[in-house]
Symmetry: C2
Subunit: 201 residues, 2 copies
Amino acid sequence: MLLPEPIQNLINALERLPGIGPKSASRLAFYFLRADESLSSELAEALTGLKEKIAYCSECFNITEAGRELCEVCANPKRDASIICVLEDALDVLALERTGAYQGRYHVLGGVLNPIEGIGPDDIKIRPLVERVARGGIREVILATNPSMEGDTTAMYLQQQLRSTGVHVTRLARGLPMGGDLEYADQSTLLRALQGRQEMD
Amino acid sequence: MLLPEPIQNLINALERLPGIGPKSASRLAFYFLRADESLSSELAEALTGLKEKIAYCSECFNITEAGRELCEVCANPKRDASIICVLEDALDVLALERTGAYQGRYHVLGGVLNPIEGIGPDDIKIRPLVERVARGGIREVILATNPSMEGDTTAMYLQQQLRSTGVHVTRLARGLPMGGDLEYADQSTLLRALQGRQEMD
């Protein structure tokens, strides 16, 4: 049996989303049919012209509303402008903010160096970071790219690029995650935890 | 940090979907930002006015395109009109069709009897089914509501309602699912498999 075209179109669109397979897509599509009209209209509205409604901060490349020059963090004079936390993407800003412990500014690279996929230093926001640091007033740059091969490579490259500025460059700590289990930790996590062990007060 | 309003709206809309929590909603929203423009526009278009684009078959209450009187199955003269398979919702039609083994017609109840949620016989399409059978020409009614308490109750109620018509009423077989493991089967599934055991040829 062929499904009615409007439903089939919806299933096709949903299937393109990450983590949604053919079965979940069908279930979701039929859920929209049963659910309140507002569910589909709200989502449709939020999606329409999404990219035009969003701009990127001219200072740190975090997302902001279209028409604004700076993002919420850079526009906030209470945030410490002398510390920059360097992240892979804007979603990571959200994660850092959720800790409630970071009061500095950000710099969103928009990716990581990845020679296999052909992503080099000029494809992500490395030069603007170096220029930003060179302009002065920065005390510390925290490299918070992901603890992956690409993230580490990018962090090392950034460290080299920033060396001449004389600024203090740090990297997020590695070790056992909270609630983790020593027995299930992988070899390299355990190795990092051992190497990075700290004196107890 | 407050997110830009367009992104926050999108996250709120996505969070309303079943099986999508706050974290998945954020990830999906940022995915739309990174991905090709067509992804969000295609989905927005498919969702816009969805309910107006869909109608329900006047014969079996399966979904069909707006403006059509009958669904694809009822409109197909090759489908055996003397057998009706009774289902809870239109998604179940899809599941049955996928087997490729069923050549009869359907009847979509649009729910099951559920006294706790206040769903009685008049809230689902029971009367139209009884009328359809009473009109004659039906050989068999297969009750294919889910093997749940509500599904069973609904099937029993339908059986009673259809008794006077003298039509042959059957229910889908219960037993071990394909690929299942005897050891992990729950008590009542195993009990049904035992009770329904069949002669081997």
